[in-house]
Structure formats: C-alpha cells, structure tokens
C-alpha cells in the first residue's frame, strides 16, 4: 500500500488529460469493434475502481466481486425487461440489492482478522453465480436474458457504440473524481491508516470494523453500477460472464495496475481487457499466456506496474548520477 503519488493537483490534471485523450479516441476511432473494446474497458474500470478502494486502501481482498457485477446486471436486465421498470430506477434497485448483500456478507466476515473476507466472498460469489444459473424463471437460466432494453435519456437512445462510449466514460470520470475526493479526505486517510496498521488505526479512534464494511459496500456499489451499464450495452447477459473467473480477473486488474493508486485500476483494466485482443495472435495459447503474465508480473512487480515502473525509473536515475 503506497502513498498516493503527487498532490491532488496532479490528480486533477491527470483526469483532465484523460478526458482529452478520450475525446480524441471518440472523435477519431470510427471502427465500432475498437470502440466497443473501449466501452468495455470503461465499464470494467468502474467496477475495478471500487475494488481498488477495497484492496488498496482497506487492505482487503474480495474473490467474489463478480457477484455484485452480476447482481447489477441482472437487476437492470430483469426489472426493465420483465417488469418494465425505468432503467435508472432499476439501476438504483441493483445498487440497493448489492449494498444489502455486501452488508450481510461483510458484517460477520470483517469482524475477523486476516483474509476471511477473501474466503467468504469466494463462497458468496460462487453461490450467487449458481443462483443466476438455477433461478431460471427469473434469470433465464444458463441461456441468460435476451433483449434487454437500451438506455434512454429524454428522447435520445444510447444505441450506438460512440454514444455508449461517451456515457460510460463520463460516468467513469465522475466516479474517479469522487474517488479522488474520498481518498484525499479524512475518510480516505482513515481507510489508508486502516490498510497500513489496523491496531494503530483503532488507537486513532477509527472503528475499523465499520470502516472496512463501508469500503466493502462502496466497492459493491461501483461493481453493481458497472454491471447495470454492461447489461444495457450488450443487451444479452448470461451467468457465464459473472463467475469465479470474472472475479479473479477483477482482482488481477487491481493488482497488476497497482493497489496503492486509483489510476492503477484504470491501467490494469486497460491492459487486461485489451490483452485477449493481442493474444488472439496466439489463438489457443491465449489462456496460457494470460496465466504466465499474471505470474511474472506478481513475482517481479508485486506493487503493480505503476509503482514497479516508478521504482525501476528511480533506480536508473540513481545509477546515472552515481558516477
């Protein structure tokens, strides 16, 4: 868990630059295939951002976050498709459901020291995934839900790749801004303290049990929102997308990007979502290479690519001046 590098000024600048970069992509990339990849990166980045708050700041792991992602997706899907809910209301319902689930799982699990949350979320994630598969009358079973309506704002329907691109990244930027504010506030400090030394944080008046629970719930809310956005984008969802593999992918996106920084979430997601595209070159080997990359990065750059690269950079600089 490392220091948030740079003061908040740099964070704002970074966000501004991101917005500019995204504008360029939006303006010049006309191929829908590639735009869709960017949309998926944005959607996943929202979920992973929440997870990085949990892992990087509160020092806890969730091995079942796909459950919240899926709950958001299915809540949006089912409520809009079968019950004609307003999609934004459905999204809120999804968030409420995920928050309550996170409370139920987190309350007992976070009372214990160590990695019991990891184990509890592992079990929770798999159970929820099985429910998605088995509650067929509600969820459409293994074949999933088809024909989820698209999102509309007043008279405008988000039915093109470029419109969804703008929507998703706008949401991401807003959430990133809020996350930056949160991390650079007394609450953020309390979370960081808690991740650094729990006993000392308690000695500083932080009710660590409740703090961990709050971060866990926040991370569940981010994931649920992302899931809802996913449902309205792909309009077809099935349990296969919300299983153990998905949860693991989210964790590795946080770890590879770097657990101590919010930007790590964006970097990790970008790399791991686009990686399969580059790996299709290897066709059947892609699963293998994916695993290999995970292993290599975690062994040699356990703090993630951002911090790891900074370290390497500093080492080179020192070598140069040390004549």
């Amino acid at each position: 868990m490392n220091i948030q590098f740079g003061s908040i000024k740099y964070q704002y600048i970074g966000l501004f630059l991101l917005a500019i970069l995204l504008s360029f992509i939006g303006l010049f990339v006309k191929n829908d295939y590639y735009l869709n990849i960017f949309v998926l990166i944005g959607i996943q980045a929202i979920a992973v951002l929440g997870l990085s708050l949990l892992m990087g700041y509160a020092g806890q792991v969730s091995l079942g976050h796909a459950a919240f992602y899926g709950l958001g997706a299915y809540a949006s899907g089912i409520l809009t498709l079968h019950y004609g809910f307003n999609p934004y209301l459905a999204m809120l319902c999804g968030i409420a459901i995920s928050a309550v689930m996170a409370l139920i799982v987190g309350l007992p699990a976070l009372r214990l020291k160590g990695h019991y949350l990891a184990m509890a979320t592992l079990g929770f994630g798999i159970i929820i995934n099985i429910c998605f598969k088995e509650m067929a009358s509600l969820t459409g079973g293994p074949s999933g839900l088809v024909g989820i309506p698209m999102l509309k704002l007043f008279n405008f329907t988000f039915d093109t790749s470029i419109s969804y691109f703008c929507l998703v990244w706008a949401v991401f930027i807003i959430l990133m801004l809020l996350s930056i504010h949160l991390v650079n506030s007394p609450f953020g400090r309390a979370f960081r303290a808690l991740g650094s030394n729990e006993a000392a944080a308690q000695a500083m008046g932080v009710n660590t049990h409740i703090a961990k629970l709050i971060v866990f719930i926040i991370s569940a809310i981010y994931a649920s929102l992302a899931g809802s956005l996913y449902a309205h984008f792909v309009t077809f969802i099935s349990p296969a997308s919300f299983g153990f593999i998905c949860s693991i992918k989210m964790v590795t996106m946080v770890a590879i990007g770097g657990m101590g920084t919010l930007w790590g979430a964006l970097l990790g997601t970008s790399i791991l979502v686009s990686l399969p595209e580059f790996l299709t070159v290897f066709s059947d080997y892609d699963v293998l290479v994916y695993g290999l990359i995970l292993i290599v990065v975690m062994i040699f750059m356990p703090e993630g690519i951002i911090q790891g690269s900074l370290k390497l950079f500093r080492r080179f600089r020192y070598k140069e001046t040390n004549v």
């Binding site: 506030s185 007394p186 000695a203």
Partner: protein, 254 residues
C-alpha cells in the same frame, strides 16, 4: 488528592492456558506520571493493551472517569480521550508525517462525508483547521520541518517523535506510552524526558511502561512493578527501589 482518572479493578487476561495478567488493580490520578516496570514477559504490554481496549479482559473491570469501559473496543476508548504509543512504533509508514498526525486530529475534528465528497467550502475550512492544529503539535516537538516526508523513510528517533505528536493531536486526557525510550540514544532520551514533563504540565495524565530505570525514576511519581502477570509492588520510586521483592526479581536471589 486529585480525582481518579483510571481505575483498574482485578483485571485478568488469559490466552488459552497462559495467564498473562493476573488480578491486577491500581488507580491513576489526574495529572500524574505513573510508570509500570517489570522484567520481560511480566505482562506490561498485555496490561497496556487491556487498558487501551486492544484486548478484552478475561475478568475484572476498567473505569475511566468513573465510566465503565471494560468492554470498550480500542476505537471507542480512543474517542473519549485515551491515546497511546506502541513499543515497536505503529506509524502509518506509507503516509506522510502530517497525514499521520492528522489521524490524531480527526478524533475530534474532521470534515463530513458529503462535504469531503463534493468539496463544499466547509471541507476546505475544516481541513485547514485540522492541518494547522497538526502543525502546531509538530512544532511543539520541534519537527514541523518534516511534515511532508513519508514516515517510513525517517530515522527511528524522529519516528518516535511523530508517533508522540500523533498521540498528542488526539488531545487525550490519558496518554499511554509504551516504552517511549526504547531505541533512543542518550541525547534523544533527555529530550524525551523534557517532552514528557511538558505534556504533563499541559494537563495530560501519563501512564508509561519503561525499561530504562533512570528515566522511570526521574519522571515517575508512582511506580508499579509487575512480575509474571502479578502486581508485586506499588509506591514512589524510592520505595520501590528498596523493596526486597523488586530487588529479587531484577537482580536474582542472593
């Protein structure tokens, strides 16, 4: 006779078959500097953890200003004015010095959740207040120049001071110091004694665990001696030094 701040009544703590603290009772009065001494393994740190709320006692009770805080968790005790430092330092090493001290300030002053999220004007006001207060505490200990350094990078002596500044920022009524002199050289130790006296003069009561006899005898008004989890002696430094039991456990028989 000043009022009783902390009343420790028949406190015991067992870990499975091991009795770490065995039926200990004592008072701490407001404005005192009281020390707990004893050989390694006598239960001093466990006793501290019980008082600060990091451990729950197996039996016995704890009263703070007359309030029963026996079952209180550490964060609750911290919020009513019990602060502590740790024997092996418990700084948030990944955070800067000022951020560490701010953690102490936040026990009493901090911006609200929504205000932080959306950066209302009160956020900036409260943050500035907190920051100024934190810097004040750092200046008190003479280390305001390292406010933005990362704690993990500092030498041990400075880290000790940061930890103390952090505890002071919490404006405690009772300050628990766990071996504050350990790891410090002679120069820093003298400075430490000055600081501790300064703190007591500000009205803060101090309960400390210490190995260094010189510091203990020169600072403390009352001393408690522990051995194997039991209290074997309590009194002024001179009385304790002359007690035959105390001499035996420190110097051995004959």
């Amino acid at each position: 006779m000043s009022e009783v701040l902390l009343n420790v009544k028949n406190i015991s703590k067992r870990f499975g078959g091991l009795i770490a603290v065995d039926d200990i009772s004592f008072y701490v009065r407001a404005g005192q500097i009281k020390a707990i001494i004893g050989p390694n393994g006598s239960g001093k740190t466990t006793l501290f953890n019980l008082i600060s709320g990091h451990y729950q006692p197996t039996s016995g009770s704890l009263y703070f200003y007359g309030f029963n805080i026996t079952k209180w968790p550490a964060w609750k005790s911290a919020s009513v004015g019990i602060a502590r430092t740790f024997q092996n330092l418990a700084l948030f090493t990944n955070m800067s010095v000022i951020d560490n001290v701010l953690m102490g300030v936040h026990i009493h002053t901090k911006a609200g959740f929504l205000s932080s999220l959306f950066r209302f004007p009160t956020f900036f006001k409260k943050e500035k207040e907190a920051r100024d207060f934190a810097l004040e505490k750092l200046s008190l200990l003479g280390i305001s120049d390292i406010a933005d350094k990362k704690c993990g990078d500092l030498p041990f002596g400075l880290q000790r001071l940061v930890e103390m500044a952090r505890a002071l920022a919490a404006e405690p009524r009772l300050l628990l110091l766990d071996e504050p002199a350990s790891g410090l050289d002679i120069h820093d130790r003298n400075r430490l004694c000055e600081i501790i006296r300064q703190i007591r003069d500000e009205g803060i009561t101090i309960l400390m665990v210490e190995h260094d006899m010189n510091i203990t005898m020169s600072l403390a008004e009352e001393v408690i001696v522990l051995d194997s989890g039991k209290k074997i002696c309590e009194g002024s430094p001179k009385e304790v030094q002359r007690d035959p039991e105390v001499i035996r456990i420190y110097l051995g028989e004959g």
